[in-house]
């Protein structure tokens, strides 16, 4: 059990580091790093706070506490993926509308040039 929890601690610390480096290099915008940092921090705390992890495992009816942590990790990432799917969908809609607007404006500009 200790080994699995240590691995989770290492992975969550690595994730925090990765996200912070990405934010510093401007590869992830700050607003999109918050979800990842919060999820990684929660995993880090749960993998170290045995009492809390046992309580959560009891609450959701899992007899092996590290499995509860793995389940929670999966749920957290699902929420993050959902949030990013919403954001990507919105961005795609905006992108299509912008591309269409650019094309239509170019058409009008060309028509004006041809008329003049």
């Amino acid at each position: 059990m200790d080994r699995l929890l240590n691995v989770m601690t290492g992975l969550s610390a690595l994730l925090i580091l990765l996200v912070l480096v990405s934010v510093r290099r401007a590869r992830i915008r700050v607003e999109y790093s918050v979800s990842w940092l919060m999820a990684a921090l929660a995993l880090l705390i749960l993998s170290r706070a045995r009492g809390l992890l046992h309580s959560i495992a009891d609450l959701i009816g899992v007899t092996y506490p590290p499995l509860a942590l793995v389940l929670l990790t999966g749920c957290l990432f699902l929420v993050i993926f959902y949030r990013f799917s919403v954001i990507i969908s919105q961005l795609k809609d905006d992108n299509i509308a912008l591309a269409q607007r650019v094309a239509i404006l170019e058409y009008h500009v060309q028509s004006l040039k041809n008329a003049g």
Binding site: I96, A99, Q100, V102, A103, I104, E106, Y107
Partner: protein
């Protein structure tokens, strides 16, 4: 009946159709000489734009590839802004027979319905339709019958004419990936009406269809989901128009 002023625009969505688009534009110009043709180029990497302009079409060039729905919607948006009353969409691969355009326009104009579909299956004219596509059409006919409240013979046809009411709706909201079937549901939710007229399907003039069995399965799942999302979508329904069934 000939269209006048800004009555009718023919739009031709095209992506890498240099081998066919010139003939498509020429055919439309021959059948409807007074009607402007707008080729909406979905960022082709070949000479589609040059060929289309050379054939006498206006060209709306998208800055990057949007896919069929985004491409058609761009044409609808421009037509709406320019004040056109009717728009007929003809595919750029040359499979739609320009000789059918007057019949679609006539029906659009005289029936008052919002959309007219050029149907390959009304008089059994589906001879150049692939078996996969014909099966897909049959499947979606069954799915759409209870949703639309009337039979539609060719729900996957891209040979469609719309009036200004539909143009306004599609300018604001248009299914982006596989638009043909979902647009029927969008129309139905607004209590708009459609008619079908028989049309001929020609063999492709150039290139080859991108439809593979795997893509067909993806298409069916995607469109089914799109149909049911549109059915369930929360938005205020338009009141029923008096005097229309």
């Amino acid at each position: 009946m000939s269209p006048n002023g800004k009555s009718l625009l023919v739009i031709v969505p095209a992506f890498n159709e240099e081998g066919a688009v010139g003939n498509v534009v020429a055919d439309v110009n021959r059948v409807m000489p007074d009607v402007p043709v707008l080729v909406v180029d979905d960022c082709s990497s070949d000479a589609t734009v040059t060929v289309a302009r050379g054939a006498g079409a206006e060209v709306l060039s998208l800055p990057h590839h949007l896919g069929l729905g985004g491409c058609v919607q761009a044409g609808y948006k421009l037509a709406f802004e320019l004040g056109y009353q009717y728009v007929i969409r003809v595919d750029g691969d040359g499979q739609h027979d320009a000789a059918d355009i007057p019949r679609i326009f006539e029906t659009l104009h005289s029936s008052g319905c919002e959309m007219v579909i050029g149907s390959r299956f009304i008089n059994g004219n589906g001879e150049h339709t692939s078996m996969v596509r014909a099966l897909g059409s049959r499947f979606f006919r069954m799915v759409l019958r209870p949703i639309l409240g009337k039979a539609v013979h060719d729900p996957t046809s891209g040979f469609v004419g719309v009036n200004r009411n539909a143009l306004g709706v599609f300018s604001r909201s248009f299914p982006l990936e596989y638009p043909e079937i979902e647009t029927l549901v969008v129309l139905q939710r607004r209590r708009f009406h459609f008619e079908e007229v028989p049309c001929r399907m020609l063999p492709r003039k150039s290139g080859r269809s991108s439809i593979t069995p795997l893509k067909s399965i993806y298409y069916i799942v995607h469109v089914l989901l799109g149909v049911f999302v549109n059915v369930l979508k929360y938005e205020r329904r338009a009141p029923k128009q008096p005097g229309r069934s």
